[in-house]
Every structure is written in structure tokens, then in C-alpha cells.
Amino acid sequence: MRYFLLRRLPACKQMTVLMSESMERPLTLRERVQLRLHLWICIWCVWYLEQLQLLRATLRERAAEDDGATATTLPPEARERIKRALKSES
């Protein structure tokens, strides 16, 4: 039964596109049904969707906090150059 469905529904390639679009726009009823059925039988795509959502959630968390994970600083030469430019303007 599952293979019957898998063979007749849009395949993983189309589903990856749909999964990405599901994060951008509401899906039509037909699209939602197709995706649901596909995910019912395709664990790989289940993981794919989970991972897209994980990536989104991780980036959102990072955006929410000041870049605590790195120690990147404005390089000293840039710092001086900018200060000089500002001084000549004021």
C-alpha cells in the first residue's frame, strides 16, 4: 500500500521544494494532503523537514542574542580609519 502511494504521489524532489515553500506561504489543501501522505511513508523527507525547521529555529535564536558565540571585533586599522573619517566630518 505504501509503495503504491509512494509511486503515485509527487516524489521527494518535488517534496523538498514544497517543504521549503511551506515555510514561506500557506499550502493549498491539495499540497497539504500530498505532503502529509508523502511524509507518512518517507522518513527521509520527515528528517528533511525537521532539519529545515531546526535550521530556522537555530538562526532565530542566534539572531535574538548578541553574537555571544564569537569574539569578532572591529580590526584596529578599521577602527582608527573610521575615527579619522568621523573627525573630519564633525
Partner: protein, 205 residues
């Protein structure tokens, strides 16, 4: 109101102090989105110069940093607009990132995952990932090969939370262009992270 009070009421801008207090933050903010050190430096400089000019509108009301970041966002958007005007036709951009090889080309399982490219289970959580500096290093390395506009579209969407319409305006692309770019960015990033961060499945790569 005394003379001293009146002087305190109208603050004077101290640009050198802005660089000291906010320079690193603004630079990191710009660098994450522009992914180019010298462009990030330029945009920080443009921001502070613009802030100096616009100081009368701000004049110490509210948070200095919030105000500066607001100007920075505009400068970054301006930069992306320039990028959009100079870039090639959006549909052609990043065709190699369509990754046809991930899916079976023919036979009864056409367009299904090829086994060696199919996703594995990550067993991961955002909280665990976000605080690891090395993860962000790998993430940046994975972003790097993507075409500039594709990567920018992805970051504007996922980090800055811009709407589709806003991103399309900034990058001079249509909504369909955008969705293709986001799909390709995700397809590529997911795979790249699985290989280089999660290193799954053990032994397969």
C-alpha cells in the same frame, strides 16, 4: 532651568565614543550579513557618518545602539540593492545548487532520494547548536559557496525575518526567484551541515 541643566539637556555627539562602544557590535552585525570583512567595515563607517549627520533627529532620545543599528540596517539594505542591480539574471543564479544528483535520475524511483544523499537523523536541538562557536564557523563555511544573492536572501529571511516582499524589493527579484533561492540554499546548507558538522552517517562519507 539653569545654564548647566540646559547644557545637559542637549547632548553633543561623541563619534569616537560611538566607535569604542558600538563599533564591535555594528561590525559583527554587518559581517554576519555581508560576509565580507572590508564591506562590513565600509558599511559601519557609512553608518556612523550618517548618524553624525542625522544626530539632531536623535539627540539622545532612546537607546543609542538601537538607533545606530537602525541606520546600519538601511545601509546594509542599500548594499544589497546595489548587489541586486549588478547581478546576473536571478533564474540562472546558482543552477548548480539545484543538486539534481541528490535524486534518482531514472527508473521506478525517479526523483526519490538517492540513498547516499538521503537525510540522516540529526538528534539535535537549537539550544545546543546556537552556543557552539564552531558550529557557526562550519555554518559560515557552508554558506560561502552559495551565490551572493542566494546567501543574502537566506540570511535576510532567516536572521532578519524580512518578509518575502521586503527581500524581493531589496534584491530586485521576484517572489518565485526568491523561493527558488531559498530552496537551493536550504538543500545545500542542510547537506553541508550534515557532512561537516554532524558527520552523518558515520562511515558513509
Amino acid at each position: 532651568m539653569s545654564q548647566e541643566q540646559r547644557a545637559r539637556e542637549t547632548p553633543t555627539p561623541d563619534p569616537a565614543a560611538w566607535v569604542d562602544e558600538h563599533g564591535d557590535y555594528l561590525y559583527r552585525y554587518a559581517l554576519f550579513r555581508l560576509r565580507d570583512a572590508s564591506r562590513a567595515e565600509d558599511v559601519v563607517q557609512e553608518t556612523l557618518l550618517a548618524a553624525l549627520q542625522a544626530y539632531a533627529n536623535f539627540a539622545g532620545r532612546g537607546s543609542e545602539r538601537t538607533w545606530l543599528v537602525g541606520i546600519l540596517k538601511h545601509k546594509i539594505a542599500d548594499h544589497f540593492r546595489r548587489l541586486g542591480r549588478e547581478a546576473q539574471a536571478p533564474q540562472r543564479e546558482g543552477e548548480e545548487f539545484a543538486h539534481e544528483e541528490f535524486f534518482t535520475a531514472e527508473g521506478q524511483w525517479t526523483d526519490h532520494w538517492e540513498t547516499e544523499y538521503a537525510p540522516s537523523d540529526w538528534h539535535a536541538s537549537p539550544a545546543a547548536l546556537v552556543e557552539q562557536g564552531e558550529f557557526w564557523q562550519v555554518f559560515q563555511d557552508c554558506l560561502r559557496p552559495l551565490p551572493a544573492r542566494t546567501a543574502s536572501a537566506f540570511l535576510l529571511r532567516e536572521v532578519d525575518g524580512l518578509t518575502s516582499e521586503e527581500i524581493c524589493e531589496v534584491l530586485s527579484i521576484t517572489v518565485n526567484n526568491l523561493w527558488v533561492m531559498l530552496h537551493r540554499a536550504r538543500l545545500h546548507l542542510r547537506r553541508c551541515l550534515e557532512l561537516n558538522w554532524f558527520k552523518l552517517p558515520e562511515g558513509k562519507h
